[in-house]
């Protein structure tokens, strides 16, 4: 069971490494969206600092959301998803492994880039630290909830946008708490309350999402 989880992880990481393009591009998308806003909104520093946390959170959400479409789609398309579901291990583990791999591939790099973009928005160091912490707690939620959405919309044409529609509403609380934490630290009201809500949300999705996604996957393959 342990071995199976590792095999899934290793497989997805290898595939991502083989297609380094995909992987890099999601990070570029993050940088790009975060940089478009100063263009659309104008360059005043204090305004940028105000909207910075929100924009970075939204950009991170969109960047890793877009890659979610392909969480199961590629494997479904070439038939290997059926093979994996028909393997002698429980489907929950498969889903969990794929969610973790998704987070490692698309979530973690965002954490590394975010501070740089934070500087661009004139955020203070303290705000950047909290931003990091909130993204650390928030991005796994997206990968986990996303696995549910990806499983539900598997094989549907236009599944990508449908996925977004299904997942974003569920994800909005994370977005609010995450950006709220950074705002809180900037306004001096503290970030603990927001961060602990975010943490609770993460644990909750870790415990529920894989099961629902596994059920959804079996339904979608029928």
């Amino acid at each position: 069971m342990h071995r199976f989880l590792l095999a899934v992880l290793r497989r997805d990481l290898t595939l991502a490494a083989r297609r380094r393009g995909d992987w890099l591009i999601a990070q570029f998308f993050f940088v790009m969206v975060a940089s478009l806003f100063p263009l659309g909104v104008g360059p005043e520093p204090e305004m940028l600092a105000r909207i910075g946390p929100g924009v970075l959170w939204v950009a991170a959400t969109l960047a890793s959301l877009l890659s979610l479409t392909r969480l199961f789609a590629d494997d479904h398309h070439d038939g290997s998803l059926e093979h994996m579901v028909l393997s002698p291990e429980p489907t929950v583990l498969l889903v969990l492994g794929k969610s973790i791999a998704h987070w490692l591939i698309y979530g973690v790099p965002l954490l590394l880039i975010a501070p740089v973009l934070g500087i661009q928005f004139h955020l203070s160091w303290e705000a950047i630290m909290v931003l990091e912490l909130s993204l650390l707690l928030g991005t796994p939620i997206l990968s986990l909830l996303g696995s549910v959405g990806a499983a539900l919309t598997l094989g549907l044409r236009g599944g990508g946008v449908l996925l977004t529609l299904l997942i974003l509403p569920l994800y909005i609380p994370a977005l609010i708490f995450g950006a709220g934490a950074v705002d809180g630290v900037m306004a001096g009201t503290g970030a603990e309350a927001h961060l602990s809500l975010l943490g609770a949300f993460m644990v909750l999705s870790l415990m529920i999402a894989p099961w629902i996604a596994a059920a959804a996957l079996r339904v979608s393959l029928e």
Binding site: L145, V148, L152, T153, L156, R157, G158, G159, L162, L165, L166, L168, P169, L170, I172, P173, I176, I208, A209, I212, A215, A216, V219, S220, E222
Partner: protein, 243 residues
């Protein structure tokens, strides 16, 4: 005759047919009564003047939007657990009406907010979570529309309904958990009602009318769904020929 016989689509089709007129007429009469209270019995509010009359639509619609969602989640869970076809059909029959009431709650809230708060829309917790509820309804309906295979659609939609159900307590308790612009709950079983008895009565009558309406509409819709899915069976063919 026991309840179980009605779990079969064939019997339920007939039963629903009998119930629909009662609920439709009930809804109509209750709505007339409720509107009469709203506009002619309820007095002018000393703070909000006449604008508060929106409450007679807004609150029942907001309640319905949440209740219907919970009922859908309930039917979805039953369907997933026991594989009963009828419960999935019920869930499907309820969704559009739920979305309609959510939309009405948002719309009337916005129309109320403009004179009261000076803005059509603010991003407070209750308003946001109600908007999310609308998105959830639309998402579920869109998912159903995107999946052609009914069985797959039933299950996928129910799974989505289930995880979305977390949102309902958030909407309800948002005014308590967060300090918001929106009014707190004034109906509390423990406390005496904090509003005039006649207003409360009007809201309740309108809420019951909305319930009756929902049931009537859902039954009509579920009958159509049953007929469509059971068209291969002899009883459905017989009904089609006679109707």
């Amino acid at each position: 005759m026991n309840l179980y016989t009605y779990a079969s689509p064939a019997n339920f089709y007939v039963l629903a047919g009998k119930l629909i007129p009662w609920f439709s007429w009930g809804a109509g009469l209750l709505a007339v009564w409720g509107l009469y209270i709203s506009f002619f019995l309820a007095p002018t509010d000393f703070q909000q003047s006449e604008a508060y009359r929106i409450i007679f639509i807004h609150v029942p619609a907001a309640w319905m939007s949440m209740f219907i969602y919970l009922v859908m989640a309930f039917w979805g869970a039953i369907g997933l657990a026991f594989n009963t076809r009828l419960s999935f059909m019920m869930a499907r029959a309820l969704a559009p009406t739920g979305a309609l009431f959510t939309f009405i709650a948002l719309w009337t809230g916005a129309l109320w907010g403009k004179p009261m708060w000076g803005a059509w829309w603010v991003w407070d917790a209750r308003l946001t979570s109600e908007l999310i509820l609308l998105f959830l309804y639309v998402g579920i309906i869109a998912l159903w529309a995107a999946i052609d295979d009914v069985r797959r659609g039933d299950r996928a939609g129910s799974l989505l309904t289930l995880i979305g159900a977390i949102n309902v307590p958030i909407i309800y308790f948002s005014v308590k958990w967060w300090n918001t612009l929106h009014q707190g709950s004034s109906i509390n079983l423990m406390k005496a009602p904090s509003m005039a008895a006649i207003m409360l009565q009007g809201m309740l009558v309108m809420a019951i009318a909305a319930w009756f309406y929902t049931i009537a509409v859902a039954l009509v819709r579920v009958r159509r769904i049953i007929l469509e899915r059971e068209r291969q069976t002899d009883w459905a063919k017989a009904i089609l020929e006679n109707e």
